[in-house]
């Protein structure tokens, strides 16, 4: 039975479920409800099968390598390689696809009668199917084909809500940036082909010594730019805060949860598996880029008051944290410390899993809120906890998990990342050590600022009084949406409490990579399900923390509420307002909340203030009627990086245009000269 599940056949069953779901939904013209049910059913079934497939592959440690040999094209061997690393990513993708599809059943209802649901189902299933293919492809050309399918499917999903012009612009920016990234990836694959002669990953891995060191560095740089652009590192991130909010919320969850992780997957595959051995500076570059992305990501998130843009910037921050783990793994391995490198890789993979879960949870709850209040602007929310209590609870769980507070899962993966960095500080020599100190410093500030940002996001959205009229009409979401969110919240808690178990599995997965085949690991799991690093330098225990916190909170609650003074009476009145009448205008706004932090970091963020005043009487400007303050940050990347680049490209294009001056005689002379040159070369 297990052999059938872990065979290539089952992988194709997985894919075919999504293909059927995709193609089938196109046939439901104008029958919205049936299209929704058809596409959701097949994606749910497919993701359940994907979960079964990936879990059995991991548990049996099997290594699937199969290819369909088309003997007439030696370049195009359609080969798949599902090893433990790929099946881990398949697990993450299926987990998220399952709950996002269940959520989608209820969420898509608000697109009925506005757009074609069949098209949504088609692109959604195509997108998820292509994600599976991307993480399992083993041939460069087919990898690029599936990468393109993934990008195009996600483009159509981003511009699905095309009545809003901003979404269309966001989609265009996304498409352009994705193609820029893909071109860098193509450069690396072409360079590899030139020196090795094949696009197949296993062939490249065996013959990597044929590539000279200088070319390997260029391959690293272009692959890092290409995959980093997909992952969303700074300064290549500008598409992320535009595209992720524009898509429907369950698609945003998938994009933020897994699509950007495919960039991480390929970085692990290339840098730790295929291109070994690597020089020291690769790991240091990844560490530096990771620290900058983490810190700047969270700072930009603090300036946002569009709830989905805020979550998109947090994805950038968490990619930074994952890159810190990955960078430390690369650094340690290049210095011949495989045990510590394993620790870094386990930290990166654990954070990938955790971020997928809590980011999806946050996007789904934000989607429920946006569905009810019809705006993404946080300044118009407020008091939603009374109208949507369960959604508020799920968003709270997501906020606690992403701020890395025990006992949820975010804490344990950040703990592992910290340990990798602390080991770097403890054991490295001068220059490397200072880069680790810089990385650890950015991680501590990132943790604190993320906490501040989610106090703002949760507080302004759900607490206090409603700030706009729409909020009063909000209702709790339908059951399928709540089920999707509840399951993810429960998983966030479970992966935290049982982090020892997960670390063990991740250790097995990481040790399956060739470079780590026989090495011990710096992180070990104690019998009490706790984790311990480097023989007791640090240790922590998930179930213990969880149990301790729960017991003591319960004891305190019981003693103080029931035992001491239980005859106390509680009366309800208005908030103390110093004698004035409290309106919603007296509450803190999202802009006001983060103003202090923005002004503290004003060198990095360059805030701009815009003030408008409206008077009762324009001639006699004495009594103001209303005053608006808009606090924004200036768009540094556009101004200093992309616009100059565009200007240079424009200038070059204008010069190149001179070749086409419309004169037929000149064109004929071009053909004549080219013909002469070709004849000369051949002869």
């Amino acid at each position: 039975m297990l052999e059938i599940i872990t065979s290539p056949i089952s992988f194709f069953i997985l894919l075919s479920s999504f293909v059927v779901g995709a193609v089938g939904s196109l046939f439901f013209q104008n029958k919205d409800k049936q299209a929704n049910i058809w596409s959701s059913f097949f994606s749910i079934v497919g993701s359940l099968w994907g979960l079964v497939f990936s879990i059995s592959t991991i548990l049996t440690k099997s290594n699937l390598l199969f290819s369909l040999n088309k003997s007439f094209f030696s370049l195009l061997t359609l080969s798949f390689h599902v090893d433990l690393l790929s099946s881990f990513f398949i697990f993450v993708i299926s987990l998220l696809a399952l709950f996002c599809s269940i959520y989608g059943l209820g969420y898509v209802k608000h697109f009925y009668k506005k757009y074609n649901i069949g098209v949504l189902g088609f692109f959604y299933n195509l997108f998820i199917g292509s994600l599976f293919l991307v993480v399992s492809a083993s041939n460069g050309i087919f990898f690029l084909i599936f990468w393109e399918i993934m990008s195009i499917a996600s483009y159509f999903l981003v511009v699905y809500d095309h009545n809003d012009a901003n979404n269309v612009k966001a989609g265009l920016l996304y498409l352009v940036m994705t193609y820029v990234g893909t071109s860098f990836i193509i450069i690396s694959f072409l360079l590899l082909y030139k020196y090795i002669g094949s696009f197949d990953f296993s062939v490249i891995k065996d013959n990597i010594s044929l590539v000279p060191v200088f070319i390997k560095n260029i391959i690293f740089i272009s692959a890092f730019i290409g995959f980093g652009l997909k992952a969303g590192i700074i300064p290549l991130h500008i598409w992320l805060p535009a595209a992720h909010p524009a898509a429907p919320s369950h698609v945003s969850a998938m994009m933020s949860g897994v699509m950007i992780k495919t960039g991480i997957y390929m970085m692990v595959r290339l840098f730790l598996d295929i291109l070994q051995p690597v020089p020291l500076w690769w790991g240091l570059v990844v560490l530096i880029v990771g620290s900058i992305s983490a810190l700047l990501g969270v700072l930009y998130a603090l300036t946002e008051h569009d709830i989905k843009r805020l979550l998109a910037y947090h994805s950038i921050e968490n990619i930074g944290i994952i890159l810190l783990g990955l960078g430390s793994a690369l650094t340690f391995y290049s210095l011949n410390l495989p045990a510590l490198a394993l620790l870094g890789l386990v930290a990166a993979l654990f954070h990938t899993l955790n971020h997928a879960i809590f980011k999806a949870l946050l996007f789904l709850s934000a989607g429920s809120v946006i569905n009810e209040v019809h705006t993404r602007n946080m300044e118009e929310y407020g008091g939603l906890i009374k109208y949507m209590p369960q959604t508020a609870l799920f968003f709270l769980v997501g906020s606690i998990a992403i701020s890395a507070l025990p006992p949820f899962n975010g804490f344990f993966s950040e703990w592992l990342t910290y340990q990798a960095l602390f080991q770097g500080i403890a054991q490295m020599h001068f220059l490397t050590q200072w880069i680790f100190v810089l990385a650890a410093g950015s991680l501590v500030f990132t943790g604190g600022l993320a906490l501040a940002c989610f106090v703002k996001a949760f507080g302004v959205t759900f607490l206090a009084r409603p700030r706009s009229h729409e909020v009063i009409h909000a209702k709790e979401s339908v059951f399928s949406m709540r089920f999707g969110m509840a399951a993810l919240a429960l998983l966030a808690l479970l992966f935290g409490v049982f982090s020892g178990l997960v670390t063990n599995l991740l250790k097995i997965i990481s040790q399956s990579l060739t470079i780590f085949k026989n090495s011990a690991s710096a992180v070990s799991v104690l019998p009490s399900q706790g984790m311990s690093v480097e023989n007791g330098f640090s240790s922590v225990s998930g179930p213990f923390i969880f149990g301790l916190l729960v017991i003591i909170i319960f004891l305190v609650f019981f003693i103080f509420k029931k035992v001491i003074n239980n005859k106390q009476k509680i009366s309800l009145t208005n908030t103390w307002d110093c004698g004035t009448d409290l309106t919603p205008r007296a509450e803190i706004t999202a802009t006001g909340f983060s103003r202090s932090i923005i002004l503290v970091f004003k060198g990095l963020l360059r805030p701009t203030i815009q003030q408008n005043i409206e008077y009762y009487d324009d001639q006699n400007r004495y009594l103001p009627k209303s005053r608006t303050v808009i606090l924004n940050i200036s768009n540094t990347y556009n101004t200093y990086f992309y616009q100059p680049l565009l200007k240079v490209i424009n200038k070059l294009s204008i010069r190149a245009k001179k070749i086409q001056n419309g004169n037929i005689n000149l064109y004929i002379s071009y053909i004549f000269i080219t013909l002469l040159l070709v004849l000369l070369v051949i002869l």
Binding site: K569, S571, T573, N574, W576, D577, C578, G579, T580
Partner: protein, 180 residues
Amino acid sequence: MLKFFLKIFKTPKNVISFPKNDPRKMDFFEIGEKIQDKVKKMFNGSLAIRQIDAGSDNSCEQELVALSNSFYDIERFGIHFVASPRHADMLLVTGPVTRNMAKALKDAYDGTPNPKIVVAVGDDAIDGGIFRDSYAVLNGVDSVIPVDYQIPGDPPTPMTIIYSLLNILETLENKSLSKK
């Protein structure tokens, strides 16, 4: 810095003590229902006062501010001033209640948790004082909220206020705080 600390240690103690039975200093009226003994026992060791200015001319406030200086030092009796009515046990109201402050005073009273004591300090707060029957005032605190004690005086001296507070709480009868 050293001179600063030396100066602190050289200044003599100048706190005023409150002997137990000095009848010429006691001067307060009790109106309304008698506060239960249970409540007085609770506030005996620790009392939080929120002072509300209901349109006063600040003479009483200046005397109340003097309560926290090193001569009168009300903190040694366990009494301290707080910022929010939610934290308060006793409301000290001064000033004839002006029309604009009537609602604020009522809100502050509603926002104070039970059990609470309301004390009207100064002649203005008792019945309007020198502003009595003006168009702008409501003639005393008990037209807005129920008052438990009244301390007359325009303004009452800090000695009077402290003696009255200690006797309201029956602190002086229970413990001898005269030797401090």
